[in-house]
Structure formats: structure tokens, C-alpha cells
Subunit: 430 residues, 2 copies
């Protein structure tokens, strides 16, 4: 007798890095079996068949065959990207399949309509793997922490950029050298634009904010700034001043109900648990009214960590399906309102500024006076020697100031004779 | 119309630190209401009634009335300790109530029989709050990480001792002074024996190991050593050698199927994420075959963090009850076999040793020779000056060696003329 015949059948869309991990992670699963795997290239050699100890799943190039197969109960989508993922997932839901996906682009972009469609069709969408790979942040927010009102979520959501920043710090190397190293090691894609620009992190913080604050977030309302302009000098100055430079995503529910949500490089205090998230790791710091501060640190990408979350979601669905007819309400998206977003210009931050000025007496005083005129209060201001081109490097840390006020001050200061260049402006997290 | 009439009724056993937090955490809950609270002293003033905006629950001194009330669907046990908690929970299960408990002593000691009884009666026991207060480790192991084979769990499970060790390090103070401070701040109980001795940590690692390795653990098989003998000198020497001294609990599934499970002070590397768990925080480091290393850091005790987990478990139960008739199999304890435990004498570790010897030429060589005779290989051996009583202080770090071999060597070395005292022996985590 085939012991697989009573197992729940799964259709897998995609057999790349994550997909091959999912095949391995499920090979000894007692409750499910992969019936079909949809791939682009049927002729490509795939190592995951080598060690399978049960029936091999069928490979097919016809992906829509999978989402319409009446035997398949759960469709696992690990294609990545919006197309054809959106079309296939939509069809699968209409065919009453539960969905497990690792696709952050899909959930952050089309979450609202997919969740509505799933509700209509009485199926669930599980997407733990879409944010921070193996870190169990989504189900934790939905279940164990569900009694909390969340105040703030801060995270290091992108392993590639965190690897680059860590290497720059540890080895005193430039951004360009570390990016190349990350590409050679496979941490960074040949086209690393989505990582470096902060776009990848924006998807993830948008998904988490939506769950935590129970409001829908439009992905293009997330202010996003990458690490392209970060130099080794910024990283070393951060350390010298008692901070660490990280690319962070944050979302904060404010007292007026607006959500401050953004991705940018930031100086964070060394006492912040996120400051010790190194290399390709991810970290998430959640602040709830009951739980206080909770930090999760782990592998945010990669074949097996991501498969851990995908397979966990499958187990969770199987457990529910075996014990009930209705979707567990904790996994049904209940909110339908879109959030009101606070524009970054209206946020209040401390700032680190690096400015190149003329090298002559009185410059430091002039800079201080100009900021004072705009009510930008300076915490520390230091002149750090003279450059070869007879300019001076000045660094400032401001007190709390509204971003638009700072930008107005900077716009004027840039146009004075004494200031040659505002070299970088980096927000400091409190 | 009373909006509470359709809510699921809860009976709360205990209204101390955790219980009063649970009352606050549930006061705006849409799905449950506390019907009765069982307390020892009916006349005690309780501040949690002051701000309640709905019907006040009834206080009763008759706790068995709560577990037999036919209207009550979930019994929340936050009494702590074994009696009368065990008797009441047993009765509640027999009366078909679901259980939510924060009681580590109860679960670690009587888990097996309570889980069996719950299975018989088709009810669930949720106990997220019993380990590490607000940190969502139990449900994470059961659900999101359920596809993993776990290799090892290491944690800082006791906030009181971690607070004391952190204060000793940061302020260069003695154990006694920091213990007194912890008691004055309310971090340590008037009788701190359970914390200091490691007993509290043993309960917690036993519960986690049982879930992760799917085997029952008898609490008295957990080797347990506290921080009573730790001196400021040990803490400072750890830092000097590149380590940090923490009270850890660990459980490791070994290739022969045995479980190495123990609680003791340990030198841990500063690159280990647990080394930056400071103050009263707890931290858990999980190693799974898929997820790799995952660390959770947060508040391991206290009224609201613990209530966060209790209220999360209640929400989780409510969601299940609303969508199904049967308990979710992920929350039903499936394993019934007891684990085979590896005795600590058979474990292999590196060790830090602090030895007081006669202060004369050749002592260092003699010590080295004696260890060599017992096949204990030395990594570093340092003489650290002379004491007032004309003895010398020597510290050693050994290479990996089986504990019983080290103990045999130490037993002989203690009896030589040259060694005055073996002042401390602390295991070093790899």
C-alpha cells in the first residue's frame, strides 16, 4: 500500500533556491506530499530529486495545471516577483486552494485584494516566509502577541545590506568592495538594486506594520532610502559617537492615529539589541504595550531558513484543516481600512550631518549660528581636521527637530560660501 | 443589553502579580470576559478593579467553585507552585475546561499526567507564559518551527540571576551586594533560593526540551548548579579571556538519541547572541536543522509581559474554539516516551579553572604536569600574582575533556601539597 495515498497533496510553484529547500523540508513529512512542481525550464538538472525517499513529484512546465488540479489542497508559491505569481495565486484561491507563499512583493503589493478573495472563498493565505526568512515574526504577531497594542516595530530586514555594512565596519573596506564580495559569495544578486535601494526592506516593514497596526499599507507610501551614499567614514564616525550604522525599517503608530513608516540608514545606539545583528542576519524589535520590547534575530533569507517558515505554515494549515472546517480567524485578515501615513517631512528625529566647509577661522561658529537661526538645536559639533583641498570636515549631531525644518536649514546652508558640500545626512534613532 | 453576554467566560485562579496583569490585559477583549477570580484573601485591596470599564468579575475564596462552574470554558491558572494548582487544574480538565497556565513548576513536574488527562477529556492546555514570560518561544516551537529537527536549545532563563550577574559586571560589585539590590528592586524574591540555585531555570529548559525533542523529561534528571559560588573575579576573568559569564540552561539532542540537559554558570563567547542579554531580560537561542540559529530576547517575567503570553494563549484558544470542535493537534502533546538523559559526568566540555597554590618556583609546571597525567589538555595556564597569604592564583582554560576525567584529575590535584584550593570550576560553551 502506498503510504502517501492519505496525505494532503501540495502543488509547488517554483523550484529555485526556496523551492528546492521546501522539497527537502517536506520529504519526511507525515501529513503532506508534493504532487506537482511547476517550473520554467523542464530540462534543468535539479539536485533535490537525488535523495528523495518517496514518490517523486511530477515536474510540469504548465503552472496553471497546478492551481486547477482538484487533488491539490494547498498551493505553495515560491516563484517570487509579481508575474505570473499574482495571476496563479488568484486562480488557486478561486479554485478553493489554501495558499502558502514566501513572496513579499506579492503580499506587500496585492495583499489587500488577495486577502479579500481568500475570505470570499473560505481559504487561508499563510505568508510567514515573506518577511525575514526563518524568523517567526508574522505568526507571532498574529497569535502569541495578539493581546498587545503594538507601538513600534524596528528591524534589520535585508541580509545583503547588513552583510555589506558589517564587512565595511569589520574590515575597514569601501561600499563598492564589500558589495562585490557579497555578490561573489552569493549574498547579493547580480542586480542588487532592490536590496541596496531599501526596496526589499520596504516590502517587509509594510507587511509587518499592516499586521501589527491592523491597517492596510500602500507600498508606495513607505519612504525609502538605501545605503548607496553610505561611506566607510559614516560607519566609523557612528562607532566613535557611540552608535552603529544600520539600514533599518521602522513603523510607529502615533497618538493621532497616523503611521510613521520608513526605510533608511540610521545611527542606532549600541544598547539597542539590533546593533548586534551582524552579517547576513536579520533582526526585528517589536514594542507592545504588554510584552515590552521583544527582539528576534536569525537568518532572514536562504534556502533552508525560508523553507523552515514555508513548511511551518504548511504544518499549521494541515493542523487546522484536520481539526476544523473554517479558517482560523487569527489567520484571516480582518482589517480593510488603509492607514493614514505621516510623511517623513513631518517626522521628528535627531540627525547626524557631515559637512565640508572652507577651512578658515570662525567656520564652526558660523555653521552653528546658521542652524540656530532655523531653530535647529545642535547637540555636538566637531571639526575633524583639514582635507587636501583646503576644506574642513565638520560633523554635527542635532537634537530632535522636525525633518522639514532641518531640510529648510540645509537648503539655505548649502547655498552659503562657507559650505562646500553637505556630504551626508543620517537619521539617529532614539 | 449587556455586551458581555456572548463572551466566552473565563475563571481566573490567582490575582497576584501575573493575575492582576491578566485582568488588565483582558479588560478590552471582545471575545472573553473574566467571570470569577479565585483568591486566598478576600479582604486584600486590589488595584486592578479601579480602572475596569465593564462588569467587575466576582471574587471568591472558594477556588474549586471556579473549576466546576458550568458557564466557565477556560480556566486560567496563575497561582504558581504545585499546590493547590495541580488539584484545581486536574479538576478543571475533568470538568472539560481548557487550561491556560503560567505555572512552570506545574508543567515541568506534572506535565505528562496533565497532558494525558487533557487528551482524554478533549481539552487543551496552553502554557506559553510558563517559560520566559513574554517571549513567544513555546508556540513558536510548536507551530512556525514545527518542520525543524531541533539540535540544541540554550537560554538565559532567569531574570533575577541575569540581573545580578549584569550588575556585578557593570558596577564591579560582589554577589551579595547585587543580590540585596535585586531584592530591594523587587527583581528577587525575599527567598531567592529557586532563582539562585538554578532550579527556576531547570523547570524552563525541561519544558522547552520536552517540546523540541518530543520526549518527556523528568525534572530531577536535569543537572542543576546555581550562581552561589560565582565571584566578581570569575566575571572579570571571563571578560578578560573574551567570554561572558552567564547562568545558562541548555538541552542538546545527541547522535545516540540521549539528551544532554543542564543548568549551570558558563563562559559564553561574546559573539554568541546570548552574551548581549543584559539585566533582567531572558534570551533563548534555538538551533534547528532548517532555520539555523534563531534568538529571541525579551522580558522573561513581570506582570504585563507574562500577561501578554497568557492573554495570547486565551486568544489562540478562542480562535480555535470558534472555528472547530476538536483541539488543534499542534497543541496536543503527542509524545509519551521519557527521554534518555546523558549524565553530566559523561558530557564533554572545555573548563575554566581557578586554583590557589603555594607561591613557589615550578608550581605552574607541576600543575600542568598533573593535568597532563590525567589526559586533561590545557589551552592556557596563567599565574596571576601572589596573594597576601603567600599563595598564588592560577587560572586555566582546558581543551575539550570529559567531565568525569576532569573531576578525577581535580580530586587528585586537590590532595597535593602544592594546591591549596580549587576555587572554582566553570564550564565553557562552544
Amino acid at each position: 500500500m502506498n503510504k502517501n495515498q492519505n496525505k494532503l497533496k501540495i502543488g509547488l510553484l517554483g523550484a529555485g533556491t526556496v523551492g528546492s529547500g521546501v522539497v527537502k523540508a517536506l520529504q519526511n513529512n507525515d501529513f503532506v506530499e508534493i504532487k506537482k512542481i511547476g517550473v520554467k525550464d523542464l530540462n534543468k538538472k535539479r539536485d533535490f530529486f537525488t535523495n528523495l525517499n518517496s514518490n517523486n513529484p511530477a515536474l510540469t512546465g504548465n503552472l496553471s495545471e497546478i492551481v486547477s488540479d482538484p487533488e491539490i489542497g494547498i498551493v505553495v508559491e515560491v516563484l517570487g516577483g509579481l508575474n505570473p505569481a499574482k495571476e496563479l495565486v488568484t486562480l488557486a484561491i478561486k479554485n478553493k486552494k489554501h495558499i502558502v507563499t514566501a513572496n513579499k512583493d506579492l503580499i506587500a503589493t496585492y495583499g489587500p485584494e488577495l486577502f479579500d478573495l481568500a475570505k470570499e472563498n473560505n481559504v487561508q493565505i499563510q505568508f510567514e516566509a515573506s518577511v525575514c526568512g526563518g524568523i517567526p515574526i508574522i505568526n507571532t504577531l498574529k497569535q502569541t502577541l495578539s493581546a498587545n497594542n503594538f507601538k513600534k516595530i524596528t528591524g534589520i530586514f535585508n541580509g545583503t545590506t547588513n552583510y555589506i555594512l558589517t564587512e565595511m565596519l569589520n574590515k575597514n573596506l569601501s561600499f563598492e568592495v564589500c558589495l562585490k564580495e557579497a555578490q561573489e559569495l552569493g549574498y547579493a544578486e547580480p542586480d542588487p538594486a532592490n536590496d541596496i535601494s531599501g526596496r526589499d526592506s520596504a516590502y517587509k516593514i509594510a507587511i509587518l506594520a499592516s499586521i501589527a497596526f491592523r491597517e492596510r499599507i500602500k507600498i508606495d507610501t513607505v519612504y525609502t532610502e538605501g545605503i548607496q551614499k553610505i561611506t566607510l567614514e559614516d560607519i566609523l564616525l557612528a562607532e566613535e559617537l557611540g552608535y552603529r550604522l544600520k539600514l533599518i525599517g521602522l513603523a510607529k503608530k502615533e497618538s493621532d492615529g497616523k503611521i510613521d513608516i520608513r526605510v533608511h540608514p540610521a545611527f542606532i545606539k549600541k544598547t539597542n539589541t539590533l546593533s548586534s545583528v551582524f552579517g547576513a542576519n536579520n533582526g526585528v524589535l517589536v514594542e507592545g504595550d504588554l510584552v515590552g520590547e521583544l527582539t528576534l534575530i536569525g537568518k532572514g533569507a536562504g534556502s533552508m531558513p525560508t523553507a523552515s517558515s514555508v513548511a511551518g505554515d504548511i504544518n499549521l494549515l494541515v493542523a487546522q484543516i484536520s481539526s476544523s472546517q473554517k479558517p482560523n480567524p487569527q489567520f484571516v485578515c480582518q482589517h480593510t481600512d488603509f492607514a493614514k501615513i505621516r510623511p517623513v517631512s513631518e517626522t521628528t528625529n535627531c540627525y547626524f550631518l557631515r559637512i565640508r566647509t572652507e577651512d578658515k577661522a570662525g567656520v564652526v561658529g558660523q555653521i552653528g549660528t546658521m542652524f540656530g537661526k532655523h531653530d535647529v538645536s545642535i547637540n555636538t559639533l566637531t571639526q575633524r581636521g583639514t582635507n587636501q583641498d583646503n576644506t574642513a570636515s565638520i560633523t554635527l549631531l542635532t537634537h530632535l527637530v522636525k525633518e522639514e525644518r532641518l531640510q529648510r536649514a540645509l537648503a539655505e546652508i548649502k547655498n552659503t560660501n562657507v559650505v562646500k558640500q553637505v556630504e551626508n545626512v543620517i537619521r539617529v534613532l532614539d
